[in-house]
Amino acid sequence: MKRIYLDNNATTAVRPEVLEGMLPFFSEAFGNPSSIHWAGSQVSPAIETARRQVAQLLNCHPAEIVFTACGSEGDNLALKGTADALGERGNHIITTAVEHPAVLDTCRYLEKRGIEVTYLPVDEEGLLDLDLLEKSITPRTILISVMWANNETGVIFPIREIGAIARRHKVRFFSDAVQAAGRLSVDVQEAQVDLLSLSGHKIGAPKGVGVLFIRKGNPLTPLIHGGHQEMRRRAGTHNVPGIVGFGIACQKALEELTSVPRRVESLRDRLQDGLLTLVPEVKVNGSLRHRLPNTLNLCFAGIEGEALLLHLNIAGIAASSGSACTSGDLGMSHVLEAMRVDPLLGQSSVRLSLGRNTAAEDIDRVLEVLPPIVQKLRDMSPFWQAGSCCGASGGY
C-alpha cells in the first residue's frame, strides 16, 4: 500500500539536499564553533553561511538571525523576552485567539505574572478586525503578536497592514511565521515586523532547530542564559548540523517560492473541489481567499474527526485534526471554536496539508478513499439521517 502523507503542517521530511549538507557535521567536522582551533574554525563559517541563507529568505541582516531549537522556543523568547525587557515601559500584549499553543500558553503564563493580554477574536472565516486591533493598543502596550498564517486552517493574516499599525503606534510587532515560511514570501522589511519565528522541520530542515529574527534595536531578555553564543541572545552550543540544514532548506525554499507553492495549491484545490463534489455536507474552514496554498481544513457533518483520521491512516493516508501537538486533547480545536463553528460540527474537522512531495496520484487516491469512509461513519452516526445531519448546521 502506498503511503500518502498529508500532514505537512505537523512536520515535513528532511530534504535530501539538506541531509546531505548536514552529514559532514556530525562525526567529521564535529567541532564546537566557539572554539578557536581547527575543529572550531572548520565549523563556524558553516554557521555564518546558514545565517546568511536564512537572512536572505527573510530579507534581513544576518546579524538579526538567532538560531533556536524550535518554533516554540522562538515564540517563548519573543514573548517572554519582550515582556521582561520592556517591563518598565508597559505590561500589555495584544494577540489573537487563534495563535499556536506556543504563543497562547506563554501568554496565559505571562498573565499569571502581571502581564495583561488581549486575545483578539476572529470572524467565521478566521479573519481579524484590524480596527479592533488598533483600538486595543494602549500606552501600556509593548507587543503585538499575530501569526503570519494559522497552522490549522491555513488562514493568512494581513501582516503588512498590522506591521504598519504597529509602527504607527511604536509598538513592537512579533509574527509567528512557522507555517508561512516557504509557502509565501516572508519579507520582514515589507511587513515591518520586529520579531519573527521559524521552525526548521516545517520547511524540510530537521527537527531541533528554529530561528528568531530580532530586528536590530529590539533587545530581548534571553530565555536561555549562559555562554556568548548568538551575540548573547541565546546560550548553548550551536546545533551545527541542524543550523546548516536550516540554511540549505531556506535557500531551497527561496529558489522554489515561485514554483512549488503554486503547484501545491492547484493540487489542494483539486482535492477541495473533488471532496466538495463527492461528499455532501462538507464545510471548508477558513477564508478561501486568504489561505496557505497547501492547507485544507474540512468539517464532515455527523462524524467524529479522529475516527475519520484513523480510517484514513488504515488506508495509508496521514492527516490530522488541529495541531499535532494537542492531539492529546479532547474536544474541539480552539481555532474552530474562535471561528464559532458549531461544537458538534467542529468535532468532525480534519486538516489535510500538502507538501512539495505531494503527487497528483495522491490526491486521486484520497478522493477515492475518503468519501466511502465518511459514508460508513455517517451510516453509524446517530446524528446522521437519510443524507442530512440533524445536529450540525452543515453546508458549504
Partner: protein
C-alpha cells in the same frame, strides 16, 4: 496506540444500525467530549434477543459500542446491567488512558436503554 481488538471492532463494527421494532432504545452522550451512542434492544423474557447501536465518536467509542453489543447479546437484563465500562475496555485488550472515558459510552448507553425498558414496563 490501539489494540488489534479495538482496530478490529472499529473497522468492522458488529451490530451497527437502527431497529424499527425495538422494544427499548437509549441514548447517552458523554459530556466530556460529545461522543454519543444510541442503543436499540429487542427483548424477550428478560433476555436481550437482539441489539443494535449507532455511535458518533472516536475509534475507542465505536469499538466499545461494538464490543458491548457482542458481550450482552443473549444475556439477561440482569446480567447486562452488571456490565461495566472496565469490562468492555478489558474485552478490547485495554484502551489508552486518555481514551478510557470513551468506553463509558457503551455500558452507559446500554443501561439507559434497559432502564427505559424497565421504566416503561413498570
Amino acid at each position: 496506540m490501539y489494540s488489534d481488538k479495538v482496530l478490529d471492532h472499529f473497522t468492522n463494527p458488529r451490530n451497527v444500525g437502527e431497529m424499527t421494532n425495538a422494544d427499548a432504545t437509549g441514548e447517552f452522550g458523554s459530556s466530556h467530549c460529545g461522543d454519543t451512542i444510541k442503543v436499540f434492544l429487542k427483548i424477550e423474557n428478560s433476555l436481550i434477543q437482539d441489539i443494535r447501536f449507532k455511535t458518533f465518536g472516536c475509534a475507542a467509542a465505536i469499538a466499545s459500542s461494538s464490543m458491548m453489543t457482542e458481550m450482552v447479546r443473549g444475556k439477561t437484563l440482569e446480567e447486562a446491567l452488571k456490565l461495566t465500562n472496565e469490562m468492555v475496555a478489558e474485552a478490547l485488550d485495554g484502551l489508552p488512558p486518555e481514551k478510557m472515558h470513551c468506553s463509558c459510552l457503551a455500558a452507559d448507553g446500554l443501561h439507559k436503554a434497559i432502564k427505559n425498558y424497565l421504566d416503561g414496563n413498570k
